[in-house]
């Protein structure tokens, strides 16, 4: 601790965190992947998807919001937590209307990639088939709320990176929906295709029009390597 670092263990592996880092950030820096959806580097954490749930000294906590503290014993890749995360990813699938085979985001979608990582071929929960609105009012952008997982990454990116605050949520419970900054729809806002908010979407809920298949399916990000492989390094490796 004299050198200002915080020692903790993740699945028995000793790592060191810098002051102010969350468990997720410290693990990331040490080459340990903690699955997540609503977290995105460079944005404040939201702790909403709960996919990064770990056990800290036995207690469940969201790794993306929990600051690292000296001596923490963190469980991450355990059978119990893998099952819990599978359930959460499953919930996000059945809650919306996700048709991967028709989706322009297929292969670049973090939700889909996590499902593959967790071996989900069909959800164990029944589909809820909600009725959700599309917003095609913007000339260059499309919102398909059927694919929105309410992670809030667009909302935070719009505020924290674009300085615009164009996105937020209305409603509560199962009726919580992505909302935009004008009653007339996204086209009536200052949204721009170059906004960081657009790139922040992990699924196909926010899409740029007319570029969907610029990169063919099969040559996309998660077609090459499973999600998480960009982070994970074996213990001791640098």
């Amino acid at each position: 601790m004299t050198d200002g670092t915080i020692p903790l263990t993740v699945d028995g592996r000793p790592i060191e965190a810098r002051p102010g880092q969350t468990i997720l950030e410290a693990a990331e820096a040490a080459g340990i992947y903690i699955p997540r959806l609503c977290w995105l580097q460079g944005l404040s954490p939201s702790g909403s998807c709960r996919v990064c749930t770990v056990r800290v000294n036995g207690r469940p906590q969201a790794a993306c919001t929990q600051p690292a503290a000296p001596g923490m014993v963190v469980e991450n890749d355990t059978e119990e937590l893998r099952a819990l995360r599978r359930d959460l990813i499953d919930m996000l699938f059945v809650e919306g209307n996700h048709f991967c085979m028709f989706c322009e985001k297929s292969g670049n979608c973090e939700l889909q990639a996590l499902a593959y990582r967790f071996g989900i071929t069909a959800p164990k929960y029944p589909f809820l088939f909600p009725q959700r609105e599309l917003d095609a009012t913007h000339p260059d952008l499309l919102i398909d709320r059927n694919r929105c997982i309410l992670c809030g990454r667009c909302a935070r990116a719009s505020r924290e990176l674009d300085g615009k605050a164009l996105f937020g949520f209305t409603g509560r419970g199962p009726n919580r929906r992505l909302a935009v900054g004008a009653a007339a729809g996204l086209g009536a806002t200052a949204a721009d295709a170059a906004d960081r908010a657009m790139a922040a979407c992990p699924t196909g809920a926010l899409l740029a029009k007319r570029v969907g298949y610029a990169v063919p399916v099969g040559r996309r990000r998660y077609d090459q390597a499973p999600i998480g492989s960009e982070v994970a390094r074996p213990a001791g490796g640098e």
């Binding site: 939201s46 909403s48 209305t170």
Partner: protein
């Protein structure tokens, strides 16, 4: 977008000095004036306060009492909590629909009436009950409900709905000129702490003669724990808040009692507001706070004028304001924040968000409110009953308080008892009292199950009646809902899931989605289409929701299912079906074929056969 800066908008924004943190008050005032918060109003508020438009729309859509739909001048909100349903709220609902010619969620064509359901309005001991605008109408029957509607219709110019609707005032301060409510206190047993005779402001006087640290030590020595349900040691919470460096700290009193079946704080607010404000003032002194907020649930708006009057009296008598009680250097005042219909706001971080004028989404912890709470300053949130105990501890001494109750659970506890018993109402009993003794006292001879702590607590059966109500055994925020052998506990569990689905903020996945799934499977079992594996499914799903949810609402939301599954498993097993004729019982082939047939406009040839199989 013509945001024609309407006079009411300017006036309301002006009266709150364009303060963003008062957004909830601003919207409540506009809702009252305009009957709706339409797109133009939302645009106008956003522009007037310099807020992102989406943030204002977000708040409007969050609270049950706000909305973009035009509501009638008279909004009837019938409580659909379980005790109301036990007492015949469905018949009242049918009567209201027939009398008004509209369904729930609708407004009459003349713009006169809107009919809605409300989650528990804090009147479970006098159910079925409804709110007609701010006026509480308890003990409703079908005939009485219809008469009230006809009465309002016959007096279209009535300015004062209370005068029209309240025939007989309730007991005690319910008859006060500023309350004039038909509500009854039903205070069945006054204990030694909250409802005992006392010397007003003696506790405050003693506290101000001590140092703040000594006051905190006194509360710690009394071993006072929070009465809202979580049971956190009050003195410790204050110590953390006081230790945080800041020149502004806040005390918030949580009077948002929304746990279905809880109504004890309503009786305290009616009969002991002075004791509560005294406790708040002592807390303010101990914390080094100059500002306190009473967060009053919107359903108790009928008490607002009365409580403001009590505060004004205390200000006039030097008990609030500058140099409280003549104590140099101690300034303290209290404002009342009215809620707007959202159970989750009883969660302390959601309550803080709501008091700041935001959506009532709970916040991430850390930071804890003691470090960064209201407007980013150190804040202590304490329950109504807790703060009353504080005043009495300072008046009578920590030794006196610690001698009441049991060793680890000192003092008394206010219980709100409703359901199948003869003496529904509020009881103040020593902590550590056996549940069986309480059931005897309230006339619940036929009790077969008791929901201890409301739906976020647990359903217990007769095997647990010998246990003690205290922090280390059957812990409770105070709600006890009694069920006799004639009640269908699975139907009740399903009804409470409806409540959690309605009141979830939707922020995190497990609570938002999980409870919908939990209810789907429970209802499938209730419909006789469940299979043995469904019980493991309920258990596993419930545990996922409990483990992964972000706040206390989500973590406790599966309890109605998990606790009945544990204490009343045979009730579930009796509803299960064995697979017949090679079909999965969970799959309703007949219904699926009927739905498909309806879509394509043709009937399946197999339809009749399938129906016979079922």
């Amino acid at each position: 977008m013509t945001t024609s800066a309407t006079p009411p908008l300017d006036e309301v924004l002006g009266s709150f000095e364009h303060d963003r943190s008062r957004l909830l008050d601003i919207l409540l005032a506009l809702q009252r004036r305009l009957g709706q918060l339409d797109d133009a109003t939302i645009d106008g508020v956003a522009a007037g306060l310099g807020l992102p438009r989406v943030d204002v729309a977000s708040v409007v859509s969050f609270y049950s009492f706000l909305g973009g739909q035009r509501r009638g001048r008279v909004v009837i909100r019938l409580c659909n909590d379980v005790p109301d349903l036990l007492m015949g709220a469905d018949r009242v609902a049918a009567g209201l629909e027939e009398e008004l010619g509209i369904r729930f969620g609708e407004t009459t064509p003349d713009g006169r009436f809107t009919l809605e359901h409300a989650s528990c309005i804090g009147m479970s001991d006098q159910a079925p009950a409804a709110l007609i605008n701010d006026v509480v109408v308890p003990n409703l029957g079908q005939g009485a409900a219809r008469r009230l509607v006809r009465e309002i219709r016959a007096n279209p110019d009535a300015k004062d709905l209370r005068r029209l609707l309240v025939r007989e005032y309730g007991d005690g301060q319910n008859a006060h000129a500023l309350v004039r409510a038909a509500v009854k206190n039903n205070l069945r047993h006054a204990g030694e702490v909250v409802f005992a005779e006392r010397e007003a402001n003696a506790g405050l006087a003693k506290a101000l003669a001590m140092s703040p640290a000594e006051v905190i030590r006194e509360v710690k020595t009394a071993r006072l724990r929070g009465r809202g349900g979580a049971g956190f040691p009050t003195g410790l919470k204050w110590e953390f808040t006081r230790a945080a460096t800041s020149d502004q700290r806040y005390l918030i009193c949580n009077a948002d009692e929304g746990e279905p079946g809880t109504f004890k704080d309503r009786v305290v607010l009616t009969e002991r507001p002075d004791l509560l404000f005294e406790g708040m003032t002592i807390a303010g002194y101990a914390l080094g706070a100059s500002k306190g907020i009473l967060y009053l649930r919107g359903e108790y708006a009928y008490l607002l004028e009365y409580l403001e009057h009590v505060l004004a009296w205390r200000r006039a008598h030097g008990l609030l304001g500058r140099r409280v009680y003549g104590r140099p250097g101690f300034d303290f005042d209290i404002r009342i924040q009215l809620g707007a219909g959202a159970y989750v706001c009883g969660e302390e971080t959601a309550l803080i968000a709501s008091a700041e004028g935001l959506r009532g989404d709970p916040k991430n912890r850390p930071p804890f409110p003691a470090q960064r709470g209201y407007l980013g300053q150190p804040t202590s949130v304490n329950n109504v009953e807790t703060l009353c105990c504080v005043a009495r501890i300072l008046e009578m001494g920590s030794g006196w308080f610690a001698s009441l109750g049991s060793r680890k659970s000192t003092g008394t506890k206010l219980l709100s008892i409703s359901g199948d018993c003869t003496q529904r109402g509020v009881y103040e009993l020593p902590l550590g009292t056996r549940l069986a003794a309480v059931l005897e006292q309230c006339g619940a001879e036929e009790a077969r199950a008791v929901l201890v702590g409301g739906p976020s607590g647990r359903m217990v059966g007769e095997a647990d009646f010998d246990r003690e109500l205290c922090f280390d055994d059957l812990s409770t925020g105070g709600a006890l809902v009694v069920f006799d052998g004639s009640r269908d506990l699975l139907e009740i569990a399903s009804s409470y899931l409806d409540f959690f689905i309605h009141e979830s903020c939707g922020y995190c996945t497990p609570c938002r989605v999980g409870n919908v799934l939990l209810k789907e499977r429970l209802d499938r079992i209730r419909a006789g289409r469940g299979e043995a594996a469904d019980l493991d499914y309920l258990q596993g799903l419930g545990e996922t929701i409990r483990t992964a949810s972000r706040c206390g609402l989500g973590q406790t939301s599966p309890n109605p299912v998990l606790s009945t599954l544990s204490a009343f498993r045979p009730l579930y097993e009796a509803r299960l079906t064995r697979s017949t004729a090679g079909l999965q019982p969970g799959f309703d082939l007949g219904a699926s074929l009927a739905e498909a047939g309806a879509r394509v406009g043709a009937r399946s040839l197999h339809f009749e056969t399938v129906r016979d199989l079922r």
